[in-house]
Amino acid sequence: MYSRVARLLGAAVIVAVLASQTACVKTPSTGPPAPAEYRVAQAVAVLVEANKTATEVAISLNRSSVLDRGTTAEILNYTEAVARSAKAVLALLDDGRPLDDKRADIRAALATLSNAGLLQKGGLPPAVVTALTTVQLLVEEALKEVGP
């Protein structure tokens, strides 16, 4: 039952993310495209909000005894890493160098943020699976905006 709900919620989140990307891509026909740095900052900003929500969900489910302490701690270790990496990326964006000179540094800060291990762990509540999947998708979106 949980896994079915998780799949449905995951699919809905993917649709929402794709819808937002479509909106970004189709609308600039009336003006110049957004600068790359702007798009990276925007992607990181959405990632940070999703990560904050994932943290709130984990803590809330722990307080209502749905999520045990060990798993909650593991999830929060991950969301902490995302928050710190996002701050590092935002600091890099502000360092005055052109984006091309720091793409590798930004990619390095984001590339280690895989939560595949957490997601493969069985028995996570659907809300947590949805939140972590969303964060993972947004990390990948941010990496796409940074470019190679």
Partner: protein, 72 residues
């Protein structure tokens, strides 16, 4: 369906209700900015960065508070 399952479904829907509009609202903000002649993209960029740093700090504070509660 037991109450815990209902609670979990509710949490999932609540999460979607938060994240879906958020992603769309951010996308719309880019569109509006691009379509507004003379819009100040530098100021907007600064506001996005400041907002993101604040949200990351709030996340770190929540985590620290939970760990303190748990004696970790």
């Amino acid at each position: 369906m037991n109450p815990q399952t209902l609670l979990l479904i509710f949490r999932g829907v609540e999460l979607l209700a938060t994240l879906g509009p958020l992603a769309l609202a951010e996308a719309m903000k880019i569109r509006d900015l691009l379509q507004a002649p003379g819009s100040d993209i530098t100021a907007e960029l600064k506001a996005i960065k400041n907002g993101a740093v604040a949200a990351a700090d709030e996340t770190l504070a929540m985590i620290a508070a939970w760990r303190a509660e748990q004696g970790l």
